[in-house]
Symmetry: C3
């Protein structure tokens, strides 16, 4: 198993675990848990593939992944108790997977001939919009859109680094490793020190009221 395949598989499993946490908070049954876990794990890549008209979809072409998410969902009752305990361990593999999905999404889009900005956008969508779909299925305001530790911003920065390195003829594998390292370091730092974007409010030009 190559390192990239290992990261990918870990990312799918960790995404599914986050989906379970999300769905369990809403009192869903196994059907809901599976759908939310599936959306978190594959939603971003599905949007990318639909937008780029890529076929078959990621999870149709890799049909063992849906089965893995299904089995995890069936066991979610058993898993949940341990999950809350091992939750502090999840950010690293999650960030690794987010980084990998972001950069492969960027690469697919660039290969399809999109502009650099659109390629970065589709990379960020691939890496982070699974969580948005999971939140929407749970009838929640997407946490990606409100001030919380930087996530899409890390993906955005790393995707530009990756495209920039390719532009100056750095070999693909080095550009990939550099992008992944930047995204993971940035993301873990954002979680550690709670870096967020401010909420958008009117800039009035007056100081804050005391």
């Amino acid at each position: 198993m190559t390192p990239l395949l290992f990261i990918e598989m870990t990312a799918v499993v960790v995404s599914a675990l986050y989906g379970i946490l999300l769905a369990a908070r809403k009192g869903m049954d196994v059907m809901g848990v599976f759908t939310v876990a599936f959306a978190v794990a594959f939603g971003g890549g599905t949007l990318r593939d639909l937008f780029l008209d890529r076929n078959p979809l990621f999870w149709i072409g890799n049909p063992h992944y849906p089965v893995i998410v299904f089995v995890i969902s069936l066991l979610s009752g058993l898993i949940l108790g341990h999950l809350r305990r091992i939750r502090p361990l999840l950010p690293l593999p999650d960030a690794l997977g987010m980084a990998l999905f972001t950069l492969t999404g960027t690469a697919y889009a660039a290969d399809a001939g999109t502009s650099a900005f659109v390629a970065v956008m589709l990379g960020v969508i691939t890496g982070t919009f699974g969580g948005v779909l999971g939140d929407l299925l749970c009838n929640e305001l997407p946490s990606l859109f409100i001030p919380s530790p930087l996530n899409a911003t890390c993906a955005f920065t790393g995707a530009w680094l990756y495209l920039g390195l390719l532009k100056i003829d750095v070999p693909e594998r080095y550009a990939l490793v550099a992008g992944i390292l930047l995204i993971v370091a940035f993301r873990l730092a954002a979680i550690r020190w709670n870096w967020t974007l401010p909420a958008v409010r009117e800039v009035t030009g007056k100081g804050p009221r005391p």
Copy 2:
């Protein structure tokens, strides 16, 4: 008109009626009622067609169906009073339609070369995700995901029976009838005796608190 076409048309009408009930609860106008009724009737098949890259979409290739749903929506004020009275009659045609859509969805996916599990998933999506989209358009937690009489589970079971019978060379039409009968019987029994999946909670290993 073949029996299958009759079931299909009835299913579209009944789905639209459920959509009207959903939308009316939210105080929507005719535009909202039409959109929700449309989503309930065609949302599952549209997701399937997008995921499998099938063209044209079901309702673009069968353009009389959107017109039927539109006319029903225009008459929804008149229909609503009667609808609440005839509502007890709806589960049978609804279950028949859900069964038919599930099995045709499964068949389309299998024909497109997906794995058996993915084919069953796409069948369940075809049969049951119209309601999910309707709930999301109404800003509600999808009832398919929370404990309520088994629905996706019936579709899931029948789709496996259908694929299993095809695998052992049962002719397609018998496999279809067997799958429909299983789904309809299972679904009506689930409604009758209120069979549900439990909500996913942590399995603590301790007995319940008194």
Copy 3:
């Protein structure tokens, strides 16, 4: 720059501004503002392109538009204060853009060989469903679906006029201008005199209770 291109660009900018107003009400950060603004501006056209299997998507083929929306989103804090003041000026360019998007959507669908009703539907989706997606991303009941000044109804009427004029061999450009004028006049009148569709309720046949 042709008049149509000017209307299109203005429509994208105005849609993005409405998205900012929507997102700011929810306390979103720049990532949320950009996504909502993007959905309002391009969501309808994206649905149309996915439903018709058109490639590349509008915003992938016109990659300067996402950049414009991104820059507007970055400046949203600065823009917001002025936005509330210039808001009364927005309905005219918004109605123009909605009209243009509706009629181009109708034309694309008709060219793809859909039925007239489906072409009109896809036109209305192109012109008005960006706002629906924006509302859903903000976890709100879509304002398009509840009684508020006529919007989809104006698009619907103008799209039928446009198709009808083409049917009787009016040259395309005149049909387009006629459709745009009808939609814009109808929409502005609906806002001015608060024309709405009634909420769908049961028609009981009895008079209202005193």
